[in-house]
Amino acid sequence: MHAVNHLNLTLHRGKALGFVGETGAGKTTTALAILQLIQTPPGKITGGSIMFEGHDIMKMTEAEKRQIRGDRISMIFQDPMTSLNPLKTVEDQIVEMIGLHSAMKGEEARKRALEMLALVGIRPERSKDYPHQFSGGMRQRVGIAIALACEPSLLIADEPTTALDVTIQAQVMELIKKLQSVVNTSFLLITHDLGIVAEICDDVAIMYAGRIVEYSNIRQLYSHPLHPYTRGLFDAVPRLDTRLGGKLSVIPGLPPDPIDLPKGCAFSPRCPKARPLCHERECGMREYEPGHFVNCHFPLELGEGGVQ
């Protein structure tokens, strides 16, 4: 079973890329592949390359990968309730990260950990507490402190706010955005929230069934999406001006089972614009207008898919 296929993406230094798709589209798998943390067995990367600052991570030795993980590329995980080691104090978990990638030891590393905690808004007297003594939002802050402790050049956030309360979500996103500019890292944000992407990211990639279907900068993609799937996603976002009690617009059907992908374009069975060619073969990524890539034979006309 191939969870992710033919995925081709570029992320420029200091930029933020939003990675949007439904549950099961392969977003997390892609992120874990970048860090080479796919659980093997059963998972395996069968081909391709992951270029990071001019080096292919796929070809690195285990020791080189360890150097990169945490130090150059770090990750904020989806579920703060389970992502921290329950038996270690939060301070120790940050100190571990610092000890691995810097010359700081003992008291110095401890001080740096307290700085990081202060940066994410956790009081120093709570540093000796264990994860279970914190709320979900606080734990995610600890996760952010760990991820940014070594000032990575790429930060991956895998749905960092999905498991949190709506009221906390905005705070946490705000914090990540602020710290991203402070530390000046590139940022890969995995989410299914198009609103958050619009606020934070420079570029956006839409993923469907393990493939990128559309990829562009925010302005182009939000003003005129080309792929019918992207259009469907926008339509599914509830608006304040819809009539109360009215039904939300949904994309008919379900995402395909990755074991049994449809022939041709993976979206064709659900696509309102599908023509016989779509069921025959996939289009492949093409540049429809400068910097706006789409994987569709019959993209929406410019202007047709416009969003206010």
Binding site: S83, N85, P86, M97, L100, H132, G143, I146
Partner: protein, 307 residues
Amino acid sequence: MVKYIFRRVLLLLLVVVSVMVIIFTILYFTPGDPAKSALGQDANPESIAAFHAKYGLDKPYPEQLARYLYKAIFKLDLGYSYMMKSPVSMELATRIPVTMKLAFWAVVLSTLIGIPLGVICSIRQYSFLDSLATLVTLLGVSMPTFWTGLLLILAFSVHLGWLPSMGASTVSEMILPIVTLSGSSIAVIARMTRSSMLEVIRSDYIRTARAKGQKERVVIMRHALPNAMIPILTIISMQFGALLSGSIVTEAIFSISGVGRLMLEAINLRDYPVIQGGVLFISVAFCLINMAVDILYAFIDPRIHVK
């Protein structure tokens, strides 16, 4: 903490008293007359009656039970052995160190082998080594102690002549009984370690540790193993209890004069006070170990609050 321990000790006393009542009752209603075992099958009725009178066996059940409990609890007097004509507590005192020594080393050995074996199997899941270990541990669990013991004697004492087959006073004498006792415990501990580790290794915080760039060895030893430890500790403490009662078989095979063999002889001869004393020892030891492990949990896992 002190309050918790105090409450656990009270609970322990309750368990021990219940064990005493149960074992006394079972023995009381078990057919067979200790007087006949002690005096011979054709002893005359007068001497049997005298024996009964001497040990209070002619009294009704509640009175006997009350007397036994009263003496054991308030005077620490476990009675008098019918056969050996000596206090049960004295008999136990000389035998307990032997049994404890064997059980202790068996637990140490099975922990030292079982945990690393389980860890290796979990990180090399479905490898050849894992399958082999699964097969061997399955054998270890299924093999009765007396059978392992006899096979070991046959191999190492009879055929190879490397190790003595009797006693437990010297190191070389202790090897075979300890290995026999450990056999199934190693298997049980290794299997528990494997399954507990497999569960922990898949958890998110292990992925977090790897994402930090931590070495795999450290991820396993410092992050995964401590988190997998609670079920492993539980199974080790239960193995300790199993080893104490397993000593009945092992000590018989290797002719070791420990509590197990004492109990076995006492059962054959219906030496009630000795049987009661032996069972009491095993249950007290088992309860104490369980309690120690429960307290240990709180030190391993900060989420367990000792109230």
